[in-house]
Symmetry: C2
Subunit: 461 residues, 2 copies
């Protein structure tokens, strides 16, 4: 229990006087807020609060600061490395009421949303204006959570990640002060890049309450395709050559045969159970055609079959829904199982080597782990299908994960391309960053001296 017993009632009184009935100590509410979509062990927070404004978040954090209580922001709870699990207890700040699109500046191709607006909600909101927001992790995550995790997804190869697409943030600091990290200009050389500092800080430096994002015009033409390969090498080489040639491809996703089997079964599809690429091209009609011809030629030289095209919106949506549902498809491979999802990212020249060595590890293991990835970024995932109560399965997943991560780091890659460090990747941070971790720690201490903001995530103090 992180709420100091002596002051417990005082704290609850203060929260209630601020938020009325938007304070909960109900065990089932607390349990709902004690977990994410990862394999990490849940932990019940002491209190869950539901603010409506940045100012209320600020007052909540001031109370947490006064009594030195952990405070953890919560969006959709879809993190994959335990990032939002309140493993030291404390107060979870569920931002569910902060779900308004505040402004769309169509002329400037940007918008400002409250943190709990989800990516799909935003896209529905702006579609009529001919605009879209491309970043799409598997889950329909909140944009605040996506910023905090430095998330990306299938479109990152063309449109970048949250790192490139957040223009500014409103953040509540550890002492309750509210800052705006930047203005709406597309570029600036005015002082330290606080926007990028908070993007990817996983709630450890402050709570993001508003996000200003870049938007894009919906392309004149979009076409998606599926291509099966006779070999995994052929699929990977197609990705590598496409990127090296500078084709502005919008999506180029790799699914291995195991993943395709799972996807077919879960999403009721009948693609060949082979190593496969899901592709998408954006541009003018002529541009899309030109890109598609280039990539088809590359694929043909690398054991790729015919492209199966999806150009109608409903067909494209079905294809990408199947791609986004891979975690659920993987889970369905084994009733009652969970998925330990991991992700690494390497320079593209090392991608084939990294994936093939990993597949060799898997071939020698008793665990099943479909492979899927944003291969155009050099980023891929394994989903270990485990039963949490089977100690030897957890151990084996850990062993395989360790080998995968250390392999990626040895190839000048990173221990996580998009899931964040959370709890699950903490032990790899020093292997990746060395002395630079001490700089991160100094920043954490400077901005959160009482260590109340999502404490014990990314690194220990």
């Amino acid at each position: 229990m992180a709420l100091p017993e002596k002051y417990s009632q005082t704290i609850l009184d203060k929260l209630s006087s601020l938020l009325n009935d938007r304070v909960s100590t109900n065990p089932s509410v607390r349990d709902t807020h004690g977990k994410d979509e990862s394999w990490h062990h849940p932990h019940r927070p002491d209190v869950v609060v539901f603010p409506k404004t940045t100012e209320e978040v600020s007052e909540i954090v001031k109370i947490c600061s006064e009594f030195e209580i952990p405070v953890i922001a919560y969006g959709t709870g879809t993190s994959l490395e335990g990032n939002v699990i309140p493993h030291n207890g404390g107060i979870v700040v569920d931002l569910m009421h902060m779900d308004q699109v505040l402004r769309v500046n169509a002329e400037d191709l940007d918008c400002t949303v409250q943190a709990r607006v989800t990516r799909k909600q935003l896209n529905e909101f702006i579609r009529d204006q001919g605009l879209f927001f491309p970043i799409d992790p598997g889950a329909d995550a909140s944009l605040g959570g996506m910023a905090a995790t430095r998330a990306s997804g299938t479109n990152a190869v063309r449109y970048g990640t949250m790192r490139e697409n957040v223009l500014a943030l409103t953040v509540v600091l550890a002492d309750g002060r509210i800052i705006r990290t930047s203005r709406r200009a597309r570029k600036s050389a005015a002082g330290y890049d606080l926007t990028r500092l908070f993007v990817g800080s996983e709630g450890t430096l402050g709570i993001i309450t508003e996000v200003t994002l870049k938007l894009y015009g919906i392309p004149e033409a979009m076409a998606a395709a599926v291509c099966s390969f006779d070999s995994l090498e052929g699929a990977i080489d197609t990705v590598i050559q496409t990127i090296q040639l500078g084709v502005p491809i919008a999506r180029i996703e790799l699914l291995d045969d195991v993943q395709m089997g799972a996807v077919n079964a879960f999403s009721k599809l009948d693609y060949p159970v082979k190593d496969t690429l899901f592709l998408e091209f954006h541009g003018s009609e002529a541009g899309v055609q030109e890109q598609a011809e280039t990539v088809q030629a590359i694929a043909a030289e690398n054991s790729g079959g015919e492209f199966k095209w999806a150009t109608k919106p409903e067909d494209r949506n079905k294809l990408w829904a199947a791609r986004h549902d891979v975690t659920y498809a993987t889970k369905a491979l084994r009733p009652g199982a969970e998925v330990w999802a991991t992700d690494v990212c390497v320079p593209i020249s090392r991608l084939a080597e990294c994936i093939l060595e990993t597949k060799k590890d898997l071939a020698d293991s008793f665990l099943i782990a479909p492979l899927v990835g944003h291969a155009g970024d050099g980023n891929f995932h394994l989903g270990f299908v485990i039963k949490r109560e089977e100690e030897h399965e957890l151990k084996e997943a850990e062993r395989l994960n360790d080998r995968l991560v250390m392999r990626a780091i040895a190839m000048d890659g990173t221990c996580t391309g998009e899931h964040g460090i959370g709890l699950g990747k903490m032990k790899f941070l020093t292997a990746e960053h060395g002395e630079a971790v001490s700089v991160m720690r100094s920043i954490k201490k400077a901005l959160d001296p009482k260590n109340i903001m999502n404490p014990g995530k990314i690194f220990t103090i």
Copy 2:
């Protein structure tokens, strides 16, 4: 004199034993390192040192830390806001010997260079491999300096700024520790984004000694054009509509009539002395043609004349050399004068308003100030032609600059798009960032507690 007199000889002895003859107290060497290309007053450093390695930089900084002496990194000295002026004295670290391209990973489209490699030097080095690096401030600046300033240039509208194009940095911290901020993977969610923290920190948090950069394949087709307009509004509206339509234009530069007069005279050209756009298109042959047709149609509807094309490399180079030489062209307008260059950046929807109000200010002033800008980013510059000894000219430039900057900030823009804060924009930082400046200050204090890294720049402690 920032060198503490009592220890002066000790410090020089330590430096000499480290660097042998690569330590200078020669007055003319010190004078060369006491200024940049701005109007700000020079200040002679106490010592200039010339390290050859990151380790030597580290040892130099350790000496500076021990004796609490200001230490300022120096590349090409081409900053425009006094960023490298050692205005508190101290030791200037000239990185001239750190000018090697260390690695080119053509397959990964990246490279690692020592900090003093200049942008032109890099481009010459990689051209044979079909690669280029797009970021191009006017000067042939060092890539370390460009990273430290968060520089951009004419290609940023398509390729981004240093913010988007630096993959990793090697940095010497204020106590001499050496860190690598990131690995070579294209994306990562592993911990705080230290790369982006040091990009734009202007040497106040550490000295950048190596830079890993994204590279791009030289496009299959490139075509540049010049288009004159009957009105400034027409030129600006062409820019705005081009951006809003999502045309992936590589360059779209605005030069007002005053600037065109200066450019014609300096670069021996004969363009009409009218408000003008310099444009460039990159892509496949068909893609370039498609983009060009779209923008020609937009221009024609906005009082634009015929496009004068430059497709041969030598013609394109001549055109862009003229563009890059605008500062020298502006200086040549008035013998013996200097240029007070300023830059702001606003959301594109406010660009016309911002520029037209600024032109009205200029029309009412006795100062001449050509206007030129990376209009596609909402970023533009004025170059006040002044004589430093004329107090009333400095005052008038300051008045006009204040009005320009506060106007840009009021439009949700920034006080500098690409020149940095240095000394010149310090007074605007709080107007732009408010409470967020205190967060920057906390970070500075945490990483440089003795305030020795380029002290007194960006903000005071």
